[in-house]
């Protein structure tokens, strides 16, 4: 293999698994260290810079960082990154003085945001400090989009949502709420320099089955039903409620139904629990609220009796079984359909110049988020279909970069580069600027509100979050993957001290070879191919140093035991590019 180029900003970025996995590339270890130092506001601001909604995401994020977390590869459970984010949001002091100054001097450019969800708000946040005038349009009475209408209050209290949405609105967004844009064609004539469309994927999929029309009073589309509950139009649930679907919306539906008086709430899925789309922790929460999940059932008919829903007929899906499929009747008073969401743009005319595919999605450049109309950009679920909040935020950042380049007449493909630094952490002989000791503590459980109480009140938050003590314990579990082991081949005397001390047998000195061959010859073969090998230049003995990054604990012992400081621990910071950066 060729020697690893550690000057490539993506190399060490790849070693920080959580940051790489985060669509917005939040510097996770950096803010977790600040939590350990009780610098909650500092930790919050690092999050705010990157993911815009730390308090919201600290509760409802999809957490792509956690399955990626290195800790999950050396022991059972990853660091509770999401809940730590909430610790900084819950415990921070006033941060209003730290928010960016919004330039009073406007740059003369006018931007419209259609849809008031996280993607649009991110665009607003990124563009306002640079002097853009930002108009936000949403058909609801307050901004927040699906986070407001879909996410039940027992997972995300309205207060938390309002706080973080208002921070952005107060930066100087001109809001046009309760304003439904009925025609893009007309809107295009309003003279905006750029338009960002972040209207989400607002259409819940329906099931066209016998009895669907007759039972329409008792059968609801999940996302619409959730919104009606959030806005107070629906206050009560029937006695027996079936929720059909296995995604996070289904989990929100069933738990909400329990809180609205549903005595028996069941989730019905076509596949098995292992293959459910919902996040594992949301499934666990539903089950702990006495909601059974019935597997391998596909609905075939809604059965009515005396103008009331009597039940639903299902067909058992059993792979590899011959014979007639078994029919299963489940009595119920109400059905909530949570079988997927679709994009829908009824307000966009066919002849505006935008191109849509068969799934109803606009043709959008995956890097620039620009559509076929040069000054119209898409982001969030509206761009590539339903994903999650953190992805919408990441889209917003990229779209803001594009809009800024576009408004300055620059090439949208010449995007600003990430900003990286690499800084030594040595303080003394065995002393580093980070806490290099590896905690053996297991993942901390999050305290919950008592079930008897929370099940009766849909506004009562279920998770209480970590208190500062538990937060400290949990934050110490972080392995500081951003503090990198940097190898200086010229200093190495090949004494093997690093090989001998490395607790996880990552470091090897051996004859070079092709990657496959090297991976197999390491003292612990490097089987996780998603993790890179760090290969040095040739050493005096004709060998190379090969480090498997897979389970490195970043404990710094290689550097402490190195007599010539050929190993050094250096903190790598990776800041994704921002709008306005050239």
């Amino acid at each position: 293999m060729n020697p690893t180029d550690i000057n490539d900003p993506e190399y060490f970025h790849g070693v920080i698994d959580c940051q790489l996995a985060c669509p917005a590339h939040t510097p996770v270890p950096e803010y977790i260290r600040l939590i350990a130092e009780k610098k909650y506001a500092d930790a919050y601001m690092i999050n705010w810079e990157s993911n815009v909604f730390p308090g919201i995401l600290g509760r409802i994020c999809d957490r792509p960082c956690e399955p990626a977390c290195r800790r999950g590869r050396v022991e059972e459970k990853a660091v509770a990154i999401c809940r730590l984010k909430r610790v900084c949001a819950d415990n921070k002091e006033d941060v209003s003085g730290r928010l960016p100054d919004v330039s009073k001097k406007k740059n003369g450019k006018k931007i419209a945001l259609i849809g008031g969800g996280p993607a649009s708000l991110t665009v607003a946040r990124d563009l306002l400090p640079m002097g853009y005038k930002v108009d936000l349009y949403d058909d609801q009475a307050s901004a927040g989009g699906f986070v407001r209408s879909q996410v039940p209050s027992f997972r995300l209290p309205e207060k938390v949502l309002n706080e973080e949405v208002n921070v952005i609105l107060n930066m100087g967004v001109t809001t046009h709420l309760k304003t439904y844009i009925a025609s893009l064609k007309e809107f295009l004539t309003r003279g905006y320099d750029a338009i960002f469309i972040g209207t989400g994927a607002p259409r819940g999929r329906d099931l066209d089955l016998p009895g669907r029309q007759a039972g329409k009073l008792f059968i609801h589309i999940g996302i619409q039903w959730l919104a009606s509950v959030q806005y107070g139009h629906i206050k009560k649930s029937e006695k027996i409620t079936l929720v059909i679907g296995g995604g996070n919306t289904a989990m929100d539906c069933c738990r909400t139904a329990r809180r609205l008086g549903g005595k028996e709430v069941k989730v019905i899925i076509r596949g098995t629990r292992e293959n459910m789309k919902a996040s594992p922790w949301e499934i666990e929460d539903a089950i702990s609220e006495d909601i059974p999940i019935l597997e391998n059932l596909s609905p075939i008919e809604f059965v009515m009796e005396n103008d009331r829903l009597k039940g639903t007929m299902f067909q058992r899906l059993q792979p590899d079984s011959d014979g007639d499929p078994e029919k299963v009747f489940i009595p119920c008073d109400e059905v909530l359909l949570a079988v997927g969401q679709q994009n829908a743009f009824p307000w966009i005319e066919k002849d505006t110049g935008l191109v849509f595919d068969d799934a109803g999605r606009p043709r959008v450049n995956k890097i620039t988020f620009q559509s076929d109309l040069a000054h119209v950009f898409f982001g969030g679920d509206a761009a590539f279909g339903p994903k999650n909040v953190i992805t919408a935020v990441a889209h917003g950042h990229e779209a803001a970069i594009s809009i800024d380049l576009f408004c300055n007449g620059r090439d949208l493909t010449q995007r600003p580069l990430p900003f990286t630094t690499l800084a030594g952490q040595k303080m003394g002989m065995k002393d580093w600027m980070y806490n290099s000791a590896v905690s053996g503590e297991e993942r901390q459980n999050v305290p919950m509100a008592p079930k008897v109480k929370s099940i009766k009140d849909r506004l009562m938050e279920v998770e209480l979050g970590f208190n500062p003590q538990i937060g400290l314990k949990e934050s110490r579990r972080c392995l500081n993957c951003d503090v990198q082991t940097v190898f200086n081949v010229k200093e190495c005397i090949e004494c093997d001290a690093c090989v001998d001390i490395c607790p996880t047998t990552c470091i090897n000195f051996l004859k070079n070879g092709p990657e496959e061959d090297l991976r197999s010859r390491l003292s612990m073969p490097a089987k996780n191919k998603s993790q890179p090998l760090y290969v040095s230049d040739l050493l005096p003995t004709g060998r190379v140093m090969v480090k498997d990054e897979d389970v490195c604990l970043h404990c710094g012992l290689c550097a402490e035991k190195c007599p010539t400081a050929a190993w050094d621990m250096q903190k790598f910071t990776y800041k994704p590019p921002k709008a306005g950066q050239r």
């Binding site: 590896v438 005397i493 001290a497």
Partner: protein
């Protein structure tokens, strides 16, 4: 300040025949200097014991005084251990071995502990052929007292102080061969590919096995003019032969060319197979081993590998014709034959 080794190990650590991982053979965290060769030897011992599936509770570690003699704390944390007086590890090892001949005795000593204060003890334990592995972590200096030249420092070699050593060096391997050791080997801490099999072979040998390991002292004796430095050792290493160590359980399948290969079957049935470059060398002959070592010395080379094996020698217990049972298991009944037998014996002397 961290330095404490984390609790986590590689999740896929292999297990040996006993179901143990390498971790089960580890000891406490080392407090030796960064880059010390002794830590590498420690790890080679851990690896060898792991690979041989040695039961940790069947091992006794012995040492004297010095940096080297601290290291038994850093391996086999679940084994027995005695840290003896300076240079007196051989006597303590002899006593322990007399009491229980069934344990594997691993002695760790340094060049000071062995070649200076313990020289008298060393040659006599070799003479008596005590069944043990005697590892010398040889760095040519007294690291614990700021790096004075030791008795194994080569004439003309200079440590960090910069003054060439004016005295002749003791070659422990030659001394051991001359005083009748049945297994003599030399390794280098920076070459575990050779050192681990050397240690395994030494553990398979019955009788006294010396493994002299060049172990650079990074703090005091790793200068370009030192013959015990990493650099020097790498540049001047010469091997008697490459060799395979084939444990007793493993079937010997490969063919070999007669003459260039020499097989030596050890007491426990394992085999050392040497692949030699020079047919004149016979590892089982004292004169041949001494000749090879002297020739290398003449050329300024360090001869490594298995230098001498003789499986025909009797160990101390054989020589003394002790009972097969370990002495510490003998009860009063075994040791006091009773009045009747005593009377009979007394009768013989009337």
């Amino acid at each position: 300040m961290s330095s404490r080794r984390p609790v986590f190990r590689h999740p896929n650590l292999p297990k040996n025949d006993l179901g143990y991982t390498r971790r089960d053979y580890e000891g406490l965290d080392s407090t030796l200097c960064a880059g010390c060769g002794h830590d590498s030897i420690t790890n080679a011992i851990i690896q060898a014991c792991f690979e041989l599936s040695i039961e940790p509770h069947r091992v006794a570690k012995l040492s004297g005084i010095g940096c080297s003699s601290k290291s038994p704390a850093y391996f086999l944390g679940k084994s027995h251990g005695i840290n003896a007086v300076h240079g007196r590890m051989p006597s303590v090892a002899t006593g322990a071995n007399m009491a229980n001949k069934d344990l594997l005795y691993i002695g760790v000593s340094g060049d000071g502990d062995t070649a200076s204060i313990g020289m008298g003890q060393f040659v006599h334990i070799v003479r008596r052929n005590l069944n043990m592995v005697y590892i010398v972590m040889n760095n040519g200096c007294y690291g614990l007292t700021k790096g004075q030249d030791s008795a194994t420092a080569d004439k003309g070699s200079s440590s960090r102080k910069g003054r060439p050593n004016p005295f002749e060096a003791i070659d422990l391997c030659e001394t051991a061969v001359q005083t009748g050791a049945g297994f003599v080997a030399r390794g280098f801490s920076g070459d575990k590919e050779q050192l681990v099999p050397l240690l395994k072979a030494a553990m398979g040998h019955r009788g006294f096995a010396l493994v002299d390991v060049i172990s650079p002292c990074v703090t005091f004796n790793n200068t370009p003019a030192s013959t015990k430095s990493y650099h020097w050792a790498r540049d001047h290493m010469e091997a008697t032969a490459t060799f395979d160590f084939i444990p007793s359980r493993q079937e010997i399948t490969t063919d070999y060319v007669e003459g260039a290969t020499q097989n030596v079957t050890l007491h426990d049935g394992s085999v050392i197979r040497l692949h030699k470059t020079d047919n004149s060398f016979d590892v089982t002959q004292r004169w041949s081993s001494l000749e090879a070592m002297e020739q290398c010395r003449e050329k300024g080379q360090i001869l490594t590998g298995i230098l001498h094996v003789n499986e025909t020698l009797k160990d101390t217990h054989d020589i003394l014709e002790t009972t097969d049972k370990p002495l510490n298991t003998l009860t009063e009944k075994d040791l006091c034959p009773g009045n009747q037998v005593l009377t009979k014996i007394s009768e013989n002397y009337r």
